[in-house]
Amino acid sequence: MKFKKTYFFPLKAITVLIIIFSVIAFMSFGFKNESAISNVKNEIVNKDSVESVKAFMDVYKVLTSPRCMNCHPAGDVPLQGDDNRLHNMFPQRGTDGKGIYAMKCANCHQPTNIAGLNTPPGHPNWHLPPANMKMIFQGKTPNQLAKQLVNPKTNGNKTLQKLIEHADDGLVKAGWDPGEGRTVPPLSHEEFKKAWITWIKTGAYAPKQ
């Protein structure tokens, strides 16, 4: 009799536990879909969709400004100027994003800026995103861009931590040192970085539109 009891009690308990875990799993799946990302680590996130979306709209203003968007074009030719026209000479993206043949970015873009109005701005690693992951900013709505930025399959395989670090990438920061004759993004780099990190750490929510 005693043996029989211990056989049935765990079976009931296991059944109840399965039901409880199923409900939890279902609910957590539902919550995940509310956020733009599924790889947000709890230890660095204090979810706040209102704060997150507000911060992203500041981020969006910067990413769609000429200094950022001109190298994230919808086509395979970079953009130029504050009117986002196609780059003079129509240099092509190439497989690695660094141009082709005698039209590689570094053929004209030196490691640093050079003197003179509207001369080619410089950075040692001047490039577009590669052909297999174009990371297009041009024409993206805030919703589309936010989702693209947090998905490793569309953001250059970046984890959340790498995304945060990317705010200090040298080529990103070059946007605030564009050489003579060019406007800078609408926020300072410090303000941008603060908005960027706030957006991510509050859950990286995508605006509805």
């Binding site: 000479m89 005698a102 039209m103 590689k104 053929n107 004209c108 003179g116 509207n118």
Partner: protein
């Protein structure tokens, strides 16, 4: 004093390190095949090779080429026998000739990396070299001929 390796020869030059390479080539060393066109990397007349890559010498600081190999149009071949030079002569490409050194230096990178370029490949690769005489059609034909000469071992 800055030491430069140009066309496989070392030169010691006493110039400001910020001086663009083009000025050193032309004014200091007398290698005047490389031309000044725009001075802001927009026309391609000043194209040289830096470690095998086409560089706009008008925006390249001379200090940045120390320890690297520079090749100008004068050093592309010893006796003018590069396939591009042969093709240029064969098809009588130049009109005024001012841009042609830069055109050839850019085309040399193209046919080194693409042995059989299509017209589209050529147009894409040469879009940064401007010719005021409009010799583009002959340039395109000459590049195809040069690629053919190269494929035949010439």
């Amino acid at each position: 004093m800055i030491t430069l390796n140009i066309n496989n020869k070392n030169y010691n030059v006493d110039v400001d390190p910020e001086t663009p390479l083009l000025w050193v080539l032309r004014d200091t060393l007398g290698l005047v095949g490389t031309k000044y066109g725009c001075g802001i990397a927009q026309c391609g007349a000043c194209t040289v090779h830096l470690n095998g890559q086409a560089m706009r010498s008008c925006v390249t600081r001379v200090s940045s080429v120390v320890g690297r190999k520079v090749v100008t149009i004068e050093g592309l071949s010893e006796k003018g026998e590069h396939p591009l030079q042969k093709a240029w002569i064969e098809l009588d490409v130049p009109q005024c000739g001012y841009c042609q050194g830069g055109q050839i230096m850019s085309a040399a990178v193209l046919i080194r990396e693409n042995k059989n370029p299509t017209e589209k490949d050529i147009d894409n690769a040469m879009a940064g070299n401007i010719c005021r005489c409009g010799t583009y059609l002959r340039i395109r034909k000459a590049i195809q001929l040069a690629a053919e000469i190269q494929r035949k071992g010439g």
